[in-house]
Every structure is written in C-alpha cells, then in structure tokens.
C-alpha cells in the first residue's frame, strides 16, 4: 500500500510493529451453566421444559443454555407483570419508583466490567465497544429515566398522563444490554410493568440484568425477562393482556407485528431497519470524514440499524476519499472480541454471516467493484473482512437493502439537490450524516434529509437524553430523551 504513488500525505500503517494480544480476562465474569426464566422476581423453570444453547460467535463454543419460553411461560410472565402493575407499581409514589431505577443504574455501573465481558463473549462485539459504549450507556439510560419518574407533568405541558399497563418488549442482538435498558428504563419510570425478551443469540446480559434487578429489590413482577426465539416473541405480541408492544428489529418483523395487533387496542413503537446516507462534500474535513465513515459503517461489525451504509461522495473528492478509506480499512484489526485492540469482532451468528456474504456476492454480480481488507481472519468463529463497494448504482440492492454487516456502498454526486434526491430515495429514514465545513450547508442538508437522527460532521453518536427513532419504514416512536416518554403513557386530558 505504501508504494502507491500519490500527492497526499499518507500515514504509514505497514510497519514491522504489530499489536501484541491484549485479551480481557474472562475470570471477571460469571456465567451459569443454565438460565431459567426471570418471572415475578424469581428464576422459574420453563413450563415448556425446553432449553437452547447460546454460543460464543468468535469460536462457536457453547457458553450456556437458556430456557425456551413457550406460550404458557409467556402467560405466566404477563400475569406477573399485570399483578405487579395493579397491586404495586402504579400505586407506588413516583419518587419511590425513581429510586429503584437509580439503584439499578448504580448496580449496572458496579458490574460494568462483568457485563462488558459477557456482552462481548455472547454477541461478538469488541470489548472496547462493550466496555466504553454499550454498558456505560445502558447504565446512563437507567439513570436518566429514573429522574423522570416524578417529573412527568413537566414533560407533557398542560396534560395529565397515565401509564399504559403491561409492556411487551422484544429486542435485537446487536446491542443486547443497551436495548434492554432503552426499553425497560422509560417503561418502568412512567409506571408500566414489563415482559422483555432478549434475542435468542444474545440472551446473557439481559439475564445478568435480571440478576441485578432481583438484587435491587425491585418489586417482583415489575420486570420479567424471558428468553426464546421468534415463537416466544409472537406469544408476547399476541397475548391479550398486553397493552403495549415495543420492538426493535427488522422492518419485516415490525410489519408482521403491526398486522398482528391490528385488531386490538395495543399501542406500538417500532424501531426498525435503516440504510443511512452518509454524505461527504468536497469542502469537508476529509480525514475526519473518513474516520466518521469508518465508524459509521464498521462500528459493531456494521450490526447497527442506523449504520452509515450508503456513502455519497462529491465527485471532485471521490478518488481521494476512496483511497483513504481503502488505506484505513487495511488498518482495522479484525479478530478476538475480547482483545482490547480489536476494532471489528465476530459476526453475531452464522445466519447473519451468510446474509452478509449473500449481499457481497449480489454486489459483485450487480457490477459494483469490491475492495476488502487483506487481513487474515481467525480460523474458527464467524468473521467478515471490512468490505466496500464502489461504482454502486442507486438502484442496486446493496444501495437499497439493509445488509447489517461491515459492507459499505459508495456512490457519488455532483450537486446538493442531486444528493438529497438520492439520499431520500429509500423506504427507510432512520439516520443520516453529512460532512461539510460550511455551517449553512449543514443546516440545509440536515433539514432536508428525511431521517430521525442526523449526524453532522460526526456519526453514530448516542446519548440517553437524545431521542432516537425513524421516519417512514424505519418505524415510529422515539426512544431516549424527553420524547421517549410518550411511548409509554396515555395522555388523559
């Protein structure tokens, strides 16, 4: 790579220095051999009597086995949640509710290291991300929403609100603990009770959270955590005594849920897929933009609904940006999720790896040009090299469909109007990004992009106080911030 002739300065990454392994120790984490269902404040054997394995995607070894909740188990959990709602939680003074949630936030902080290790073991994400992003942000979500519990009259001007009742929450495998926090914290702060199902490939941190919740003394039944796959999720969605469905996952499943609850009064918030446009103008700080693009698509192996998977580069700088991106992906360290130097960990599951590889071959077939890092992949486990496609057509499937992996599609444009037209030409509208040094252009672009979260001169930033959620087929409702509260209350008058 260093031999490439060019007129711009380039960092030399191909030195003889290499990183020594720096693995985080597994000894700081305890994983049980088997997990039951957390219902009514206790660990209960599944009535289904079934368990399934959860594996480490980095080496395909079994970590534990967890209960597979059947319909009867879901019913039990919903009954526990209803009972806790009627008898305890909705009657409790809001300031007392708040203190429980503050306590949970603190305990997540106390056990942060253990949670981070388990998150990386079970889901494959690099430890630096679970340690520095997932776990602290999860704790912060509890801390943020705890404080809202007794202040709701300030959130809904001139209106009185009431909780909805029992919330059924179904979360994905890309940010397992963080999504659990996103869902549970606002729900219980506003006085609802919860039945939560983590994804089948990443149940462990949610179960650890159940241990924390038990330890916190939260009244039994306020939060119930049950494990299982799609059938368990369907049983939650279809349970007649659930008032609210909160779902994060694919647009396809989101639509199925919406149809399933159509004959009911259940409320829903759906946080679904995305195909974010990330736009680089010629006047952008190019090196920062390149870093932003890398973070935008390769963060969490690209398993991010708001990933910047469609890059639009202004033609005049396209060559330069593409070269820098190629140089940069060459330096990304792909490997052991527990190694503190790892940038890209394991793909979450074999199934997801197959999906990604399918899209890579579609991209090639459609005539796009592919570059991938030359890095060596570990022999075991599910791994994918950071990949990018150039000469991608707007109509190409890799520019239209969500891949949910470390695959970037690069397109070019000439004018503002053209790039807005292209960026908004998507059924999705979750997030978007723009890179330019010109303030007025930033606001022009951020205003015209049809997306719920817009990052200007940055990408993939999150905060408990910042609302998150999509336009169009990326779903409806917001999570986080003041606006996240309305997903869990009825405005009474």
């Amino acid at each position: 790579m260093a031999k490439t002739k060019n007129n711009t300065l380039k960092l030399k990454f191909d030195t003889s220095w290499s990183y020594a392994p720096a693995p985080e120790s597994k000894s700081a984490a305890t994983i049980n051999k088997q997990y039951d269902l957390f219902i009514n404040g206790e660990w209960q054997k599944p009535l289904s009597k079934k368990y399934f394995d959860t594996i480490n995607p980095a080496n395909e070894e079994k970590l534990s086995e967890v209960a597979d909740a059947g319909e009867a188990d879901v019913d039990k959990a919903v009954k526990a949640a209803r009972n806790a709602y009627d008898k305890v939680w909705k009657k409790m003074p809001a300031k007392e509710r708040a203190k429980y949630i503050f306590r949970i936030a603190r305990m997540v902080q106390e056990k942060a290291r253990e949670l981070a290790i388990i998150e990386s073991l079970d889901g494959g994400k690099p430890i630096k991300e679970s340690r520095d992003f997932d776990v602290p942000t999860a704790a912060n979500h509890f801390f943020y929403y705890a404080g809202w519990a007794d202040k709701l009259e300030y959130a809904f001007p001139n209106r009185i609100t009431e909780p909805l009742g029992v919330a059924g929450q179904i979360i994905p495998w890309n940010f397992p603990l963080l999504m659990a926090a996103w869902k549970i914290a606002p729900a219980i702060a506003t006085g609802n009770t919860v039945v939560l199902k983590p994804a089948e490939t990443t149940p462990l941190t949610a179960l650890k959270l159940a241990e924390i919740i038990q330890e916190s003394g939260l009244p039994p039944g306020v939060v119930n955590i049950i494990t299982g796959a799609g059938d368990t999720g369907a049983a939650i969605v279809n349970h007649p005594d659930i008032n609210k469905i909160a779902f994060t996952g694919s647009t396809e499943v989101g639509k199925i849920i919406q149809r399933a609850i159509s004959g009911t009064d259940k409320k829903a918030t759906l946080e679904l897929g995305g195909k974010a446009a990330n736009i680089i103008f010629e006047d952008a700080p190019i090196d920062q933009a390149v870093e932003g693009v890398i973070n935008g698509i390769y963060f969490n192996q690209g398993h991010v609904c708001c990933a910047g998977s469609r890059l639009y580069v202004q033609e005049s700088v396209a060559k330069l940006v593409i070269k820098k991106l190629r140089d940069r992906i060459e330096t990304l360290i792909v490997g052991d999720p527990l190694d503190k130097n790892t940038d890209i960990g394991a793909i979450n599951s074999r199934q997801q790896l197959e999906t990604i590889l399918k899209y890579i071959s579609i991209g090639k077939k459609e005539g796009a040009e592919m570059y991938e890092s030359s890095c060596r992949l570990p022999g075991k486990g599910f791994f994918c090299r950071p990949t990018m496609f150039t000469n991608v057509a707007q109509s190409s499937r890799i520019a239209q469909e969500e891949i949910f992996g470390p695959v970037l599609s690069i397109l070019t444009f000439r004018t503002d109007d053209e790039v807005i037209e292209k960026a908004n030409n998507s059924p999705y509208g979750l997030s978007a990004g723009v890179w330019t040094d010109k303030g007025s252009k930033i606001f022009n672009m951020t205003r015209r992009m049809r997306a719920g979260v817009v990052w200007a001169n940055t990408f993939n930033k999150f905060d408990p106080s910042s609302p998150f959620g999509g336009y169009k087929e990326s779903g409806f409702g917001r999570e986080g911030g003041l606006h996240g509260l309305s997903a869990y209350v009825n405005i009474v008058n």
Binding site: G452, P467, Y471
Partner: protein, 316 residues
C-alpha cells in the same frame, strides 16, 4: 345583510333539486365538485350519488370519487409538501388566519348548508362559529408548537444536540361523518398547521360544507395541493387510502372496528402512522390541542460536534 343572504339561500334549498321553480328569477344552483390540486374537477369516474336529509330531500348531485381521483389527489398533495413545509411557520399561520377570515365572510352560506343537512339553526351557527375559532386557534399554533415540543438535549459528550418536530408528509383522512364542518376543520387544521399536506374524504351523508370549504381554501392563499377534498363513500375508498404507498399517515374518525382493524393491518405495508379520533368531542376543549398537531409530526434529532468543550473553560 345576513338576512337577505339567508332568505335567498333558503330559496335555494326550497327550490332545490326537486321543487318546481316558481319565482320570477331562476336560482342558480351550485355544482358540488371535488377539490384536487387547487382545481375543482368532477370525479374522473363520472359517477355521482345523491345524499338526502332526514326528510328525504335531495341535497345535491355529489361526486362519487374513485380510486383514481384519490391517486390524483395524493400526487397533488405530495407535490405540495416541500413548498408548504418549507414556508416560514409564521406564513403558515397567516394562511390559516386567512382561511378563518374567508370562512367568517361566508358564514351564512355554511349555516344554510348545515341546516339543509338537518342541523337546527342554533346548532348550525354554533358549529360555524366554532369552526372559525378553531382555525384561529391553529393559526396561532403554527409558529409555536415547535418551541413547546422541541428540546436541546444535554448530551454527555462535546456535541450540540437538538430535537425538533417536522411534518410527516402526506396525510390521508376520513373526516368525521357527523360534524360535517367542525369535524372537517378540526382534522385539517392541525395537520396543515404542522406543514403536512392532506387528502380528505368528506362526510358521506353531509358533504355540502366540505365542498364549500374547499372554496374557502381556494381563496385563502393556501397553495394548491395542500388540502385536497374528495366526496364519496368511505366503504369504497378507505382501502385505497391505506394501501397507497406514498401516504405517510392515516386519520380515521369513526368507530367502525372492522374498518379500524383493516386500517391498522394494511397500513403496515409502508408503516403509515395511524390515528383514530373516534372518541373526540369536537365541540369541547378536547377537540383542539397542539397534541393533535404533534400526531403528524416526526421528531428529528441533529448532532454536531462542539470544539474542545471541556478544555475551553466556558469563558467564565
């Protein structure tokens, strides 16, 4: 002034479709057409229906709009989104105020039509007055709800972060069947106050005010396509309203649970936002609120880095 108008319009109703004209001067009858893209076409289908009042008197030959009319209306509405949402909020407020002015000026005509549609005079007057006041109410909200429902979010990193409401786009609405003017105004006003455009199906049995209201819109500086009004049968059209892939939200104001289920089910196709205003009493305070505006708004959150926030010392 008002009396004369009343008299003459009373003559219209008395001499309406079926009664023989006996006065010296032949009354000019109004053709009730639909309103698409700022124009008053007849339905492309060429069909009509004849709604009657309780006494069985024919109200008019009213357009029985078709799927294709709806498609044309959505096209017009989509085309108007960027212009209307791009206007200054202050200007939208002025246009809504102008709508109220125009409605006030034609009060008598609306009262008369409501009476034709079976309302007692006192109730008709109340309904028109409330409809005018409702427009004024939302005219005032146009440049204020954003401030009430926006936030600057105190993120724990060096970023400036704020959330603002933005219109969701094209809204398809089945107007309340009963309160044919007040209901209509109460659902249109918050949607367009927020910068959306809409296609609305008027009350099937009481469509007169809806068409006359389109004339108010047409003379109120409201850009063509922002509000499109169809007449016809909900039973025929609702499914097209919810199936259309370029509609962003659906509002339904009746209690029919079968239709509600169908709306929720089929709206899933492109995840339309759905709102049921079936329990709202449009005559009371609960019939107006900025929360109605917020129903057809999306929250957009924008992030931008702040240079060196921690090291700068804040200047204190």
């Amino acid at each position: 002034m008002e009396k004369t108008i009343k008299k003459s319009s009373l003559t219209i109703s008395e001499n309406g479709l079926e009664k023989k004209v006996s006065s010296k001067r032949l009354e000019v009858l109004k053709t009730y057409k639909i309103y698409i893209g700022g124009q008053f076409p007849r339905t492309e289908s060429g069909r009509y229906y004849i709604p009657t009042n309780v006494a069985g008197k024919k109200l008019a030959n009213v357009c029985l709009s078709s799927r294709k009319d709806f498609r044309d209306a959505v096209l017009a509405a989509r085309g108007a989104v960027s212009g209307w949402s791009g206007r200054a909020a202050f200007n939208r407020g002025q246009v809504l105020y102008r709508m109220a002015e125009m409605l006030e000026g034609r009060k008598a005509q609306f009262i008369d039509e409501l009476i034709q549609q079976d309302a007692p005079r006192a109730k008709a007057e109340k309904e028109v007055n409330l409809a005018i006041d409702r427009l004024i109410y939302y005219a005032g909200w146009c440049d204020k709800f954003q401030q009430v429902f926006s936030s600057v979010n105190p993120v724990a990193s060096s970023y400036f972060n704020f959330s603002v409401p933005e219109p969701t786009g094209v809204v398809a609405m089945i107007a309340p069947q009963g309160d044919s003017l007040l209901g209509l105004v109460s659902v249109i006003a918050p949607v367009i106050a927020g910068g959306n455009t809409c296609v609305l199906l008027a009350s099937e049995s009481k469509p007169l005010c809806a068409v006359t209201f389109a004339e108010v819109l047409n003379s109120s500086d409201l850009p063509a396509g922002v509000v499109n009004i169809l007449t016809g049968k909900p039973g025929e059209l609702v499914s097209w309203f919810v199936d259309h892939m370029d509609v962003n939200a659906t509002i339904y104001c009746e209690t029919n649970s079968e239709i509600k289920k169908m709306i929720r089910e089929r709206s899933a196709m492109n995840l339309k936002r759905i709102f049921f205003y079936d329990k709202v009493n449009w005559y009371t305070q609960e019939g107006q609120s900025p929360y109605f505006i917020m129903d057809t708004q999306e929250i957009k959150t924008t992030w931008h880095p702040i240079e060196n926030i921690a090291g700068a010392g804040g200047g204190y």
